[in-house]
């Protein structure tokens, strides 16, 4: 566990945006909410999936098998691994666990040609949930988001409202969007705008 004072001095991109996010929440059968999940630990892991030593070392470090199928997620406890490319994964964990995760990976992968890079501060995470969440996302994203096609445990790197993000569907059916910090306010405002119509009770 890192220094608690240091953690307290962190600032997330949407720290001042809480009121706007609450105001934008829509309840009811057409409901949709947008929240920030700040400071999730994130590590970019690069390595050769054809190398069993690599896979075994990661398994020993994280307790999970790296997903080898494109755009899928593997999870163990609060650690998950998102497939981003044939040799690239995003390891996500609980806030303030990045130092621990990095150390575990580095120790297990010593002497292998891999890359373990802490990118915790690179992105924040937005969560879009509720019955209208998919409809909101369809305004921003060209992927096939139908439940048959994009299920829990899947992820994708994609364009979202002309920014880029990593989209993940959680086991609870919510959408997580990993977005670069610099775009976070823009994207949150974009999604809030897209959510606004679901709060309007109008027949047309």
């Amino acid at each position: 566990m890192a220094d608690a004072t240091l953690f307290a001095r962190r600032r997330s991109p949407l720290q001042d945006h809480g009121a706007a996010l609450s105001r934008g929440a829509v309840s009811g059968p057409r409901g949709v909410t947008l929240t920030e999940i700040p400071h999730l630990a994130q590590i970019t892991l690069r390595g050769d999936p054809g190398n069993t030593d690599f896979l075994a070392a990661v398994r020993s470090a994280l307790g999970l098998d790296l997903p080898l199928k494109a755009n899928t997620v593997a999870a163990a406890g609060d650690v998950s691994a998102l497939w981003l490319g044939p040799d690239e994964w995003l390891i996500a964990g609980a806030p303030d666990s990045e130092a621990d995760l990095t150390a575990r990976l580095n120790a297990a992968l010593k002497d292998q040609h891999v890359s373990v890079v802490d990118v915790t501060a690179n992105r924040t995470v937005l969560e879009l949930a509720g019955p209208s969440a998919r409809a909101v996302l369809e305004k921003a994203c060209g992927l096939d988001l139908r439940p048959r096609e994009f299920k829990a445990g899947q992820c994708a790197q994609t364009n979202l409202a002309r920014t880029v993000g990593i989209l993940e569907m959680t086991q609870g059916g919510a959408w997580r969007i990993y977005v670069r910090n610099s775009f976070a306010v823009y994207l949150a405002d974009w999604l809030l705008d897209a959510m606004a119509e679901y709060a309007i009770d109008a027949k047309f």
């Binding site: 600032r11 610099s182 309007i200």
Partner: protein
């Protein structure tokens, strides 16, 4: 009074009367009316003037193909031009005007052009307005535009919301008529996700226009479709574009039909981007006009439209009607007219006999049938008053007094989307129309769109197409339900009659109503050699109006084929292009307006900049502080103050936007050696080096400082704007050319916030914030990096400089960026720390002669042009090296980077100013241009960087910048305005 509303029937809601105005007069209609049907009910058939001759024109059709009834809807910021009255749903308070009625609908000057119409033949623009040339822009074109008119665009910003969605479907059905509904039902029952779109408010298509409807089936089908979770019904939605890989665009008019009652916060229109596994085109057919003299008189209408008005809207467009038809369909209109109480004076049928069931019914009702006859002329002014009917092959014409002529020249399948999808059309000799031929995408056509005009056949095709589409989308094993029982009348073959013989000399016979193109225009064009249908179209403008020739194209090319003695298929068609009907710019823009025009990127320190009143500059998508004005300062004053503070005391810059790439692996050093023009293998751990990258053509591509963190680990920085393309460039080489190299790249641009403080007091601040760090010259030399703690935050501290002053760039994880900035501001307060923006940064680096990629370079500049040979390695190979051996990159007269000092110290040259040796020369030879130019508070004068041909050989010479109103003299100097110690060089 001729047009009238029936007391009962139709699909209008008589309990909901609506008021509207047209051309300034108030009218009443009902919910369920279109603007066109309501106008007919008010006997206001005259809706505009024609484009060229200003002839009175009336409502002609009942759908998207309408060429005449073009409306200017609404007023002020919400006004919309060129809406087809036949597609505008009536709402309470609607205001409409004719787009083309200058100076008024009832009486206009433009009609005089009709008397001088010899001027307006095919190609008249090219022939008439050629001389004198200067007159085109100033006199002819404005006058023609004013008279022709195509409505008025609003001048104000659009107050309405528009948005876009992206959806995927297993089966997209375009068209909600009988075939489309059948297809949707079959596909949905098979389990496919179905999206069915129809341009009308009510689904049903032709079923809504017929008397003998399948009302029960329609209701049951709609109810079933609405109840299915895998079906999305989109009424008021036009599939307007069909692109590659079954990608289609749809325009949904969500609240247009509510007018002022539209709810706030709901998008008025929505653009749908749809990717469909399978597409069913059930887009119906358009009826064709017949070509005879005066065929454009108000009161001449398409027969199918007349039936639609009667059966769907309960309005009868005339009381004394003649039907002129080449096929059995026209008889249905005769029967509809008779049933509605109009007097049907005759059905004029050029076929020698009428053997079908419908003619028999008409005959049984006592309607006179004139076989072997044709209408050769229609006459009347603002309203049809009579037609001349003559026997084909000669004989005297007889006049028939009437106020309505319903015409049918046959039907053309709506093959627009099919053709847009790159499908090839086939001419059907029996049906006299183009039908879908070779299919090129995952798609099928059904019903009238496929040339199957009879209802029973259309339904059967629809069910089959839906089931097959579902099967091909992965939902097989389902048998489509049986189509409902339909008792289609027996029909005799139609006749092709492209132009009525015996009409010549009786007046203008129009083919393209909207662009006022006549049959004789087309023939003239053919005689003049415009034999290709593409040439004919452009020369005569036929088919080029906003209706895209929906009623005119087939007639036009048939007349051309006749004039050139070729068959219709040999003549060919012009290209169908999206959009099928016009799409508003608002819908295309969607929410991408104002602040959403482009994504906005901000650094973690952004809130501080905002609070401090910074003025921002767009650098790519980033908002970077440009300068921080204080107490009413203008930009120049603020930049002077900021640039001065850095040289004399202390300035601080948010450099978080710099691109950052983590480079790791045993081959990392070798990789960087190949990428940069200078060497990195020998760089010590903890040391930094400025590097330059070229593309393979040898031109400067990006630059930045790279630091060795460990033997196999580097931290690269790039320009702010180049971050993404540098990473792509590096990955491209790694993945495609050097896949054996063991290197991994990770973008960490946003992992790190960068606070750069510079100036004589910079070391003091670092010492205060990082007491444990040895900051002396020996322990922490220039171009090195230390990891440490700054203001209590774990940090990487780089001693590098882009200003020429002592300078530290401190990187912390970006969630600590604002905390670091605040700590630096607090520690620097006693030194008068001055936040500076990108403009002061530019001044400072230019004083030092440091380039900015993209400002001093433009993709045509080599390192040698910049005088940076010192950074180009002679020992090793690197990307771009071989290009330096090309003769062109070693020309002596290439543009080279120089400094400029204007003769007048107060002068600041404009960036981009062209430079010449001799301003009196003619033509004047340009030898260079200014790339950067500022007023320097440190030099006390204006100065510039420039690229000048052979510039390095001309140091000390005077060059000229001819500007508007004056010519500025400047002396060429070396591009560094400071001495080695950072002091200004004077003189």
């Amino acid at each position: 009074m001729t047009g009238f509303r029936l007391a009962q029937g139709g699909r209008i809601d008589r309990s909901r009367p609506l008021s509207f105005t047209f051309a300034g007069r108030a009218y009443r209609g009902f919910a369920g009316d279109t603007l066109a049907s309501a106008l007919i009910a008010n006997d206001a058939l005259l809706v505009g003037r024609s484009f060229k001759y200003h002839r009175p024109r009336g409502i002609y059709a009942a759908g998207a193909e309408e060429p005449n009834a073009l409306m200017q809807l609404g007023v002020g910021e919400r006004t919309e031009p060129n809406a087809r009255a036949t597609q505008v749903e009536l709402y309470d308070g609607l205001t409409a005007n004719a787009v083309n009625a200058w100076p008024s609908l009832e009486w206009d000057l433009g009609a005089l052009t009709g008397l001088a119409s010899g001027l307006f033949v095919a190609g008249f623009y090219y022939k008439t307005f050629m001389w004198p040339p200067a007159f085109w822009n100033k006199v002819y074109e404005p006058a023609i535009r004013r008279m022709a008119g195509l409505g008025t665009a609003p001048r104000e910003a659009d107050p309405d919301l528009y948005d876009k969605v992206h959806v995927h479907a297993d089966v997209l059905v375009a068209g909600g008529g009988p075939a489309g509904l059948a297809a949707a039902l079959a596909a949905a029952q098979a389990g496919a996700d179905v999206l069915i779109a129809d341009e009308q408010a009510e689904l049903g298509g032709s079923l809504l226009s017929a008397r003998a409807t399948l009302d029960g089936w329609l209701r049951a089908t709609l109810e079933e479709l609405r109840g299915m979770p895998n079906v999305r019904l989109l009424p008021r939605t036009t599939v307007f574009g069909y692109y590659d890989q079954n990608y289609l665009c749809l325009l949904e008019r969500r609240t247009d039909h509510l007018g002022p009652a539209a709810p706030a916060g709901i998008s008025r229109q929505r653009l749908w981007h749809v990717r469909a596994r399978q597409v069913v085109l059930a887009t119906g057919a358009h009826e064709r006009p017949l070509v005879f003299a005066g065929n454009d008189r108000p009161g001449v209408m398409l027969a199918g439209a007349v039936s639609t008005y009667i059966n769907r809207y309960a309005v009868v467009p005339g009381k004394r009607a003649v039907v002129f038809t080449t096929n059995d369909g026209g008889y249905r209109t005769a029967l509809d007219l008779a049933a509605a109480g109009a007097q049907v004076l005759a059905v004029v049928d050029p076929r020698p006999e009428s053997a079908g069931d419908l003619p028999a019914q008409a005959h049984a009702q006592g309607i006179e049938i004139l076989n072997g006859h044709a209408v050769v002329a229609a006459s009347g002014g603002k309203r049809l008053d009579s037609v001349s009917v003559a026997k084909l092959g000669g004989g005297a014409a007889r006049g028939v007094v009437c106020d309505l002529l319903a015409v049918s020249g046959g039907w053309s399948p709506v093959v627009h989307l099919f053709s847009q999808s790159q499908g090839k059309l086939r001419w059907d000799e029996a049906k006299h129309c183009f039908v879908p031929g070779t299919v090129t995408q995952a798609q099928r056509s059904a019903g009238a769109a496929n040339g199957s005009f009879a209802l029973g056949a259309a339904l059967a095709e629809g069910f089959a197409a839906g089931a097959e589409a579902a099967k091909d989308a992965g939902f097989g094993g389902w048998r489509a339900p049986e189509p409902p029982e339909v008792d289609d009348p027996r029909e005799a073959p139609p006749l092709a009659l492209w132009q009525v013989p015996g009409a010549e000399g009786r007046g203008k016979a129009f083919v393209d109503f909207q662009n006022d193109v006549t049959a004789s225009d087309l023939k003239l064009a053919a005689r003049e050699g415009f034999e290709s249908v593409e040439h004919l179209k452009r020369y005569t403008t036929t088919g080029m109006a906003t209706d895209q020739g929906k009623t005119s194209n087939v007639n036009a090319l048939a007349i051309l084929s006749d004039a050139t003695g070729r068959s219709i298929p040999a003549t060919g068609t012009t290209t169908f292009r999206a959009p099928y009907t016009p799409v508003t710019y608002g819908a295309m823009a969607g929410r991408d307006r104002g602040d959403r025009l482009d994504p906005i990127r901000v650094t973690p320190i952004h809130p501080w900049h905002v609070a401090r009143g910074a003025v921002f500059e767009d650098v790519g998508q980033w908002k970077r502080p440009w300068y921080y004005p204080q107490g009413g300062e203008d930009m120049h004053a603020a930049v002077r103050r900021e640039a001065k503070a850095v040289r004399t005391s202390l300035g601080v810059l948010d450099a978080s936007t710099l691109g950052k790439i983590d480079v790791r692996g045993p081959d990392a050093a070798e990789f960087l050696d190949r990428i940069y023009t200078n060497g990195f293998r020998k760089l010590g751990t903890g040391r930094c080096r400025y590097g330059l990258m070229c593309r393979d053509d040898g031109m400067v591509f990006d630059d930045g400082v790279t630091t060795r963190l460990a033997d196999d680990h580097f931290f690269m920085t790039t320009t702010t704007g180049g971050a993404a393309r540098v990473l792509e460039w590096l990955e491209e080489w790694l993945q495609t050319e050097w896949p054996h190299m063991k290197v991994y790249l990770t973008s960490v641009t946003e992992q790190w916030a960068t606070v750069s403080f510079a100036g004589p007091r910079a070391g003091d601040v670092l010492r205060e914030l990082s007491p444990a760090l040895a900051v002396d010259e020996e322990s922490f030399p220039f171009l090195s990096m230390r990891e440490g703690v700054v203001a209590g935050l774990p940090a990487r501290i780089f001693r590098i400089s882009f200003t020429g002053e002592a300078s530290y760039e401190v990187n912390v994880p970006s969630h600590h960026g604002l905390a670091l900035w605040q700590a630096v501001m607090a520690a620097g307060e006693k030194h008068g720390i001055t936040p500076y923006g990108t403009e002061a940064m530019h001044v400072l680096r230019a004083e030092k002669g440091f380039i900015i990629v993209g400002q001093e370079t433009d993709g045509t500049v080599t390192p040698l042009d910049l005088g940076m040979d010192w950074i180009v390695s002679k020992q090793k190979d690197f990307l771009g090296k071989r290009s330096f051996a090309r003769p062109d990159t070693s020309r002596a007269d290439r543009k080279q980077l120089v400094g400029l000092l204007p003769a007048d110290p107060a002068e600041v040259l404009p960036e981009g100013a062209q430079l010449v040796w001799d301003a009196a020369e003619s033509p004047i030879r340009m030898v260079g241009h200014v790339t950067s130019s500022y007023w320097s508070p440190n030099l006390g004068r204006g100065f510039a960087l420039a690229l000048v041909k052979g510039g390095r050989d001309h140091h000390g010479k005077t060059i000229l910048a001819p500007l508007a109103g004056k010519t500025v003299e400047a002396r060429i100097v070396a591009p560094n305005f400071l001495d080695e110690g950072g002091k200004p060089l004077h003189g």
